[in-house]
């Protein structure tokens, strides 16, 4: 059976092996650009492995028969599998997303500053990507934590490698200590989950909680503690208020490239872990969960957007923007949880699916923005302030267009990808009611949430427009070097293309993301017996699996 596990984790394994190779050989052979190409090749190889998995799948269990999954799940160890024995749609979706984002990040780092040790930097990036992928594939607490740490620890290294000035070590140290703290909180939360389930398998946690519904003195009380600790720990990764405050300082003090890594990879992993645990493995906790998430969502987006208005440093501004976007994504989670609490399946999927669609859209636009900024920098000097972007439309029109595309997409202006992200998120908040199924009071909360969301989107437009106005309307003050390398330019172009394409033809990505949302709840049919409800979900899943992910 362990062979199966290795096969399923092949895409991650490839990346880890190549990263190790880069570390070891790179010490002797410091060729500048070669390692970036090796990393790109590794990502490509990993993509091939991933594609073969989603197309074929080695374990064939009769798709029609009732999934005899109890044995299946234990034997396959601890991966998040669907009824067909493959990594489930959510896992596949996030793995593809991580690979694409990883490609962008590696490309943009293909020509960093002279004093940066190239091979190590590329190797750590590849490791971090594999961490995000690993976190998406598993249903086991230990592996989930491993995935998160596989992002965190390389990030510490990246921050130190980034640049050599006084602010940089400070930022790295700040990030390091806070990240350790958040890891500790997460682990502490995990330990409660372990106590509840008696196993590190989330399926066990889930069945334990499901067997004791609403017992305020028993497991539920432990689960509440676990929930709060998880939000605190993961909240750091996804820069949710009040665990956001490191982000602006750290982004500002590091390079544009590193800020891109920080803004994207931890969020992908953070959201997938949060959803895997809170939305899928803690039945009966949704009623606590959605209230917490709703409050955090409102605070996160409002604070991020309002503080973003006053920033002159471009990375600080984008840090607040990334905080705000986490807030929007949390709306999706809140909707999912509240709908699950109300027993409505459809909106659960709607909310969670919208979250993952938004995650992809956000990741593309943000990674693209940082790639474009990296490109605009050069040897020893990078773009720091909004003012430096003034007049970019003349000096570098193509990059200016890329940046405009990203910023308009983050703003949510159609026909760019960001619009459909907002459509999904706000639509799910409105859809929550499901025609009067929900408690009217809860419904009103979500109506208010949607209104706060759109008001926030307006506030956000204020600072994005300021950047665009600088690029297009102001005369140049200093011309950026535009010496960040062709890799970064290509990465930015790739992201811009994807943002426009997803905006014009949203259906494929939306299909994948909503399958990812559905997949989350399919496993329960394999482990917990909730027969009647889940039959339909299973059916959906079988048809969904007929088409390859990605």
């Amino acid at each position: 059976m362990s062979n199966d596990t290795v096969y399923r984790l092949l895409p991650e394994a490839i990346l880890i092996v190549v990263a190790a190779l880069i570390y070891v050989v790179g010490a002797f052979f410091q060729a500048r650009r070669v390692w970036a190409w090796v990393a790109v090749a590794a990502l490509g190889l990993s993509a091939v492995a991933l594609f073969m998995q989603s197309a074929g799948g080695n374990v064939t269990i009769g798709d029609d028969g009732p999934a005899p999954a109890t044995t299946q799940v234990t034997s396959a160890g601890t991966l998040a599998l669907d009824a067909g024995g493959r990594i489930d749609a959510l896992g596949q979706y996030v793995r593809w997303l991580s690979l694409v984002v990883g490609l962008v990040l590696v490309l943009q780092s293909s020509r960093p500053d002279e004093d940066v040790q190239e091979p190590e930097m590329i190797g750590t990036l590849v490791l971090a990507v594999s961490g995000a992928m690993l976190a998406a594939t598993t249903r086991d607490l230990v592996l989930l934590f491993l995935g998160i740490e596989l992002i965190s620890i390389p990030t510490y290294v990246l921050l130190y490698l980034g640049r050599r000035d006084a602010a940089s070590p400070e930022a790295a140290a700040k990030y390091f200590f806070l990240s350790i703290l958040s890891s500790a909180l997460t682990l502490y939360g995990f330990s409660f989950l372990y106590g509840i389930g008696g196993s590190t398998d989330l399926a066990a946690v889930k069945s334990a909680l499901a067997s004791q519904p609403d017992d305020p003195t028993g497991l539920t009380s432990l689960a509440v503690i676990a929930l709060v600790l998880l939000f605190a720990g993961i909240g750091f990764k996804i820069t949710a208020v009040p665990f956001h405050f490191y982000a602006p300082d750290v982004y500002q003090a590091t390079t544009n490239g590193n800020a891109g890594v920080l803004a994207v990879l931890p969020k992908i992993a953070g959201f997938v872990v949060l959803v895997r645990i809170v939305a899928a493995a803690m039945p009966g906790m949704e009623n606590y969960g959605w209230r917490i998430v709703l409050v955090i969502a409102v605070l996160t987006m409002t604070l991020g957007n309002v503080l973003g208005l006053w920033q002159d440093n471009i990375r600080r501004l984008l840090a607040y923007s990334s905080i705000a976007h986490s807030g929007y994504m949390l709306i999706g989670l809140a909707v999912g949880l509240a709908a699950a609490a109300g027993g409505s399946q459809a909106a659960t999927f709607d909310g969670i699916g919208a979250l993952f669609f938004y995650l992809a859209v956000y990741a593309l636009a943000t990674a693209g923005t940082f790639a474009a900024l990296t490109y605009l920098g050069g040897q020893g000097k990078q773009v720091d302030t909004v003012d430096e972007l003034a007049g970019l439309a003349r000096s570098n029109p193509l990059t200016a267009v890329f940046l405009a595309v990203f910023l308009f997409s983050l703003m949510g202006i159609p026909p760019l990808a960001g619009f459909w992200g907002k459509f999904g998120i706000f639509g799910s908040a409105l859809n929550f009611d499901e025609g009067g199924l929900a408690d009217p009071q809860v419904r009103n909360w979500f109506l208010i949430l949607a209104v706060i969301g759109v008001l926030n989107a307006t506030i956000a437009a204020g600072y994005y427009l300021r950047v665009i106005a600088a690029i297009y309307f102001r005369p140049a003050q200093s011309t950026p070097q535009s010496a960040g390398g062709n890799g970064a330019a290509f990465a930015a172009g790739l992201c811009a293309l994807l943002v426009v394409l997803v905006g014009l033809v949203p259906t494929p990505l939306v299909g994948q993301s909503s399958e990812a949302g559905v997949a989350l709840h399919s496993k329960e049919s394999a482990t917990v017996q909730r027969a009647a409800n889940d039959r339909t979900v299973d059916d959906k899943l079988v048809t969904a699996d007929a088409t390859p992910a990605g």
Partner: protein, 570 residues
């Protein structure tokens, strides 16, 4: 026709892409290509408008965004409501290209491609038959105009561009929530519980199964936020004069001419037919806001020292008229309101173009700097005089047809149709609106007198070509507008007739709840009112054209002019 519709909408987009890609070819190529593209588009649009048949609107309908249960369609078609807005967009784009011919020197290829991009957006807004597709185009128009104002505008352009963008975005995001909520309501509360985004289906479903009152009111307010800012209605107008004065000439022309109309169009397309009860409840407020805009805009226009600002405030005033007509909710006023939106596009578009021509010659827009231009620029003065007359509503020109119908409708409300409690209020609104006409004549004629009469006074201009009267290009830019100014003025029925079916449909849905609401107040305890109102709804479904009303004698429908009578009124 469906193919030509598709081509007409996306040809400007293709042209924009071409000009952008061939930016190296320079200004000469860019402006010629833009002119060619906009002329071909205009020809296509003219063909479509000529062949338009209200009974059988043709269009395309493809699946665009489908993810169970969401099915957003890429569906374009014209109907009577959008017909003239569609034509106006294509017409004014040609004018915009021509007036920018010499004025735009810096980064001309980018300018023309944005202008054409904007045209695609506008043509798309008016043809979209899917609620989300509408919103996509609606929002998309912000981007090109944002750049047009911000890059090629006057001194304060950055602030104006950002304010314009934020105001409209803020409102339209709430509109977006409202639109999605309408779709969801239809899905959950209306048989057969499907999620449809088709405007037509939604309109039909919601008029058969109205949304309950309080949600409807909320939805109305959400949609109102976006559309009222776009129009702009009185307290939400502050972005408009700024955007107008800072925008380049072409930007002002298209902004005043078409973009503001999207707000009115939105009210007609969504608020009135989909949310009739809420509309009825809000009518007094809406009328007061409209008339406040009329008077306030006119008074501010009187106080301006800058020609462009004056015309911008006159826009606020005139759009108040359009909205007054729309919300007075009887046949003459609604017809007049829509007609007046077209009229305003023609006459104010022309006026802004003339201001641009003056600016090109003298580099000033201050009234005090200018005088006696009629001697120097007789042709320009003639055009200005004609557009001024059109703007103040001289009989025989388009402004008269619109304003007359609006005021007729409003007085009809006050005299004949209102229960006594409301008669005074509505008469007061009508009288105030008339004062707007008077003030309009005052500030426009006064402007004309100060700039074109008296002793010749020109600012000293150091270099540049000597001052010449209008070139053939400039004449060509304005002459087509004048043709329509007179055409509408003399034969308004040509323009009203194609709209009849769709406007009457709007009335058929919106008037019964209005009657019911205000009739109830008039004779509250009488039980038969409710029965009668129910009859009205049924009758109006059967016979959409003219809501026959078996309601007691003073019901307003009996006073409505019959089909064709509107034209005779002229």
């Amino acid at each position: 026709m469906s193919t030509s519709l598709l081509i007409a909408v996306f040809l400007p987009l293709a042209g924009a892409a071409l000009i952008w890609v061939l930016a190296e070819a320079g200004r000469e190529f860019a402006r010629r290509a833009a002119l060619a593209v906009s002329l071909i588009t205009l020809a296509l649009v003219a063909g479509i408008v000529r062949q338009f048949d209200p009974a059988a609107p043709a269009g395309v309908d493809w699946s665009w965004f489908s993810s169970e249960p969401i099915d957003i369609r890429f569906s374009l078609a014209l109907d009577g409501l959008s017909l003239w807005f569609f034509g106006l967009s294509a017409l004014l784009t040609v004018t915009c290209v021509l007036v920018s011919w010499e004025a735009i020197d810096d980064r001309a290829p980018a300018f023309y491609s944005l202008l054409l991009l904007l045209e695609t957006g506008l043509l798309g807004v008016f043809t979209a038959r899917d609620i989300i597709l509408f919103y996509v185009f609606f929002e998309f128009t912000l981007i090109p105009l944002f750049f047009l104002i911000g890059i090629w505008g006057s001194e304060d352009r950055r602030y104006a561009a950002i304010k314009f963008f934020l105001f409209t975005l803020g409102g339209s995001l709430l509109t977006f929530l409202g639109l999605v909520a309408i779709v969801l309501w239809n899905r959950y509360y209306v048989e057969p519980h499907v999620m449809t985004f088709s405007i037509e289906t939604l309109q039909r479903n919601l008029s058969e199964h109205p949304i309950s009152f309080y949600p409807q009111l909320l939805l109305f307010l959400a949609l109102f936020a976006g559309f009222a800012i776009k129009v702009p209605l009185f307290p939400l107008h502050t972005w408009l004069p700024l955007a107008h004065t800072q925008a380049p000439t072409a930007g002002s022309v298209i902004l005043a001419g078409v973009l503001l109309k999207i707000g009115g169009y939105g009210f007609l397309r969504f608020n009135l037919p989909m949310l009739p009860e809420a509309t009825a409840a809000c009518i007094p407020w809406l009328l007061w806001l409209s008339v406040a805009g009329i008077v306030y805009g006119a008074l501010l226009a009187l106080a301006q020292t800058n020609i462009k600002k004056l015309i911008a405030y006159s826009s606020v005033s005139h759009l108040g008229f359009c909205m007054l007509g729309t919300f007075a909710l009887n046949k003459p006023s609604l017809y007049g309101g829509v007609l007046q939106m077209i009229n305003h596009g023609l006459s104010t578009g022309g006026l802004f173009a003339i201001v641009g021509m003056i600016y090109e010659r003298y580099h000033t827009r201050e009234i005090a700097d200018l005088g006696g231009l009629a001697r120097r620029l007789p042709l320009l003065a003639t055009f200005m005089a004609l557009f001024t007359m059109s703007s103040i509503g001289l009989p025989g020109m388009n402004g008269f047809a619109g304003e007359f119908l609006i005021l007729l409708g409003m007085f009809q409300r006050g005299y004949a149709e209102a229960p006594l409690v409301y008669a005074g209020q509505w008469l007061a609104i009508a009288v105030l609106a008339v004062s707007g006409v008077v003030l309009g004549a005052w500030y426009m004629l006064w402007l004309f007198e100060r700039v074109f009469f008296h002793r010749l006074r020109e600012p000293v201009h150091h270099e540049g070509p000597p001052i010449r009267d209008m070139s053939p290009r400039e004449v060509l830019a304005l002459a087509p507008l004048l043709v329509f100014v007179f055409w509408i003025g003399l034969f308004p029925q040509h323009f009203l007739a194609p709209m009849e079916k769709d406007l009457d449909q709007v009335l058929a849905v919106t008037v019964p709840p209005f009657n019911q609401r205000f009739q109830e107040i008039k004779e509250r305890p009488v039980a038969e009112t409710d029965v009668a109102a129910g009859d009205v709804e049924k009758a109006s479904e059967r016979e959409a054209v003219r809501p026959a009303a078996p309601v007691p004698d003073r019901d307003m429908n009996s006073v409505l002019p019959a089909r064709g009578e509107v034209a005779r009124v002229e």
